[in-house]
């Protein structure tokens, strides 16, 4: 039984997992859907009430009923590198590939439907609340007056993108940024704006969940850092990430979150305040993990490999939903 990995060639983070799958003796087929019709091929036959499907890439041929798990890591848009790419060809190719894969009883990390839903930050915030995770006071609005009222109630606040997407043309980044409560909020009317009470953090927490395994890392805040630099991704590193224990209450809530979201993998960001409370910021369903493993030595890639490589038969009695991302 084969592990199917959908990602780009340059994804060296995926390599960290492939190394372990090789060591475990688990067959792997890896390709980027962007190469469909140009190095990657597919075929599926629905005849006499049965389905037979195959994928091929770089000289490897895998039967779809021989796929034990699918890891949707960082795939490109299907057929994006075809000889004559087009939006139509991408749609055709996405439907063919993911449509066939949806029909096989493989485990997903993560299922495309669950992944798509889990990317919505407003949905994340509500699920985190329902799961028992503390969520900083947040407003998403296009009403300037609502923004002014929120800033009056929570004068120490930040703004961040609702989607996490990065604007292009030209390429820009929108870090989480502090907002002066006396700002002119008129432009809130021109796009949904996410304002959030700033957590005065003493550390950033990155919790990587793989199935039931939770691996947390902590980076203490630099007490001398510029207080306006609140986004750890864009601030100078205060030090290496260090392994951290997950408080039992947080662990329970994270597992509820994953179960409700039907996610087999999630990278949670928390801000730890002076009281030691972990405030939920977001959960990236395909978040990076290599930088944490490099710093902490935590066996994240090995844990992912073991999850992907587990025989399918072991999973069925405990799966949440074979159509969705199963949890062990």
């Amino acid at each position: 039984m084969t592990v199917l990995i959908l990602t780009s060639e340059e994804d060296v983070t995926a390599d960290m997992v492939v190394v372990h799958l090789h060591a475990l003796g688990v067959p792997v087929v890896r390709f980027d859907p962007a190469d469909l019709t140009s190095g990657v091929a597919l075929s599926g036959e629905y005849v006499h009430g049965a389905f037979r499907g195959h994928l091929s890439s770089a000289g490897r041929l895998v039967s779809l009923d021989g796929v034990r798990s699918v890891w949707v890591r960082r795939p490109g848009a299907a057929a994006a590198r075809a000889l004559t790419p087009s939006a139509w060809l991408t749609e055709e190719s996405e439907q063919a590939l993911y449509g066939m894969l949806r029909g096989v009883p493989a485990r997903w990390m993560n299922h495309p439907d669950a992944a798509r839903r889990a990317r919505h930050k407003p949905w994340q915030l509500r699920l985190a609340q329902r799961s028992g995770l503390p969520v900083p006071a947040t407003l998403i609005t296009t009403f300037p007056q609502a923004a002014r009222d929120f800033a009056a109630r929570y004068p120490d606040l930040v703004v961040k993108p609702v989607s996490g997407a990065h604007p292009q043309d030209p390429p820009r980044a929108v870090p989480t940024s502090r907002v002066d409560p006396d700002s002119d909020f008129t432009a809130v009317a021109y796009g949904p704006t996410l304002l959030q009470r700033r957590v005065a953090k003493r550390a950033d927490i990155r919790l990587t969940a793989v199935g039931e395994e939770l691996l947390a890392a902590r980076m203490p805040a630099d007490p001398h850092a510029d207080p306006d630099l609140v986004d750890v991704r864009f601030a100078p590193a205060a030090g290496p990430w260090q392994p951290a224990e997950v408080p039992p209450r947080v662990a329970d809530a994270v597992r509820v979150y994953l179960r409700e979201a039907q996610l087999a993998y999630g990278a949670f960001d928390f801000a730890e305040d002076a009281d030691g409370t972990w405030w939920f910021l977001e959960c990236n369903q395909s978040g990076q993990f290599g930088f944490v493993e490099v710093d902490t030595g935590q066996p994240i890639s090995r844990t992912i490999a073991e999850w992907l490589g587990r025989p399918l038969a072991d999973e069925q009695p405990r799966s949440v939903n074979r159509a969705g991302s199963a949890l062990p």
Partner: protein, 63 residues
């Protein structure tokens, strides 16, 4: 008019450099010039930042 959040945008820092490894379709791994496996060289990965939370942000927004 520009949405409020874009008042806080900054130019993206592009990872426009040649990585010292290339993809080997036989191994399904990226390989260094000396034949070593790039993913095993954690010092190199740390130096390049190719596994960080903003790597690939141009095409993927799951940091």
């Amino acid at each position: 008019m520009q949405p409020f959040a874009l008042n806080y945008a900054r130019p993206a820092a592009e990872l426009e450099f040649a990585t010292p490894y290339t993809y080997d379709s036989g191994l399904q791994l990226n390989v260094l010039l000396d034949g070593g496996i790039a993913a095993r060289d954690h010092a190199l990965l740390r130096e390049l930042g190719t596994t960080t939370s903003t790597a690939g942000s141009k095409t993927h927004f799951d940091d």
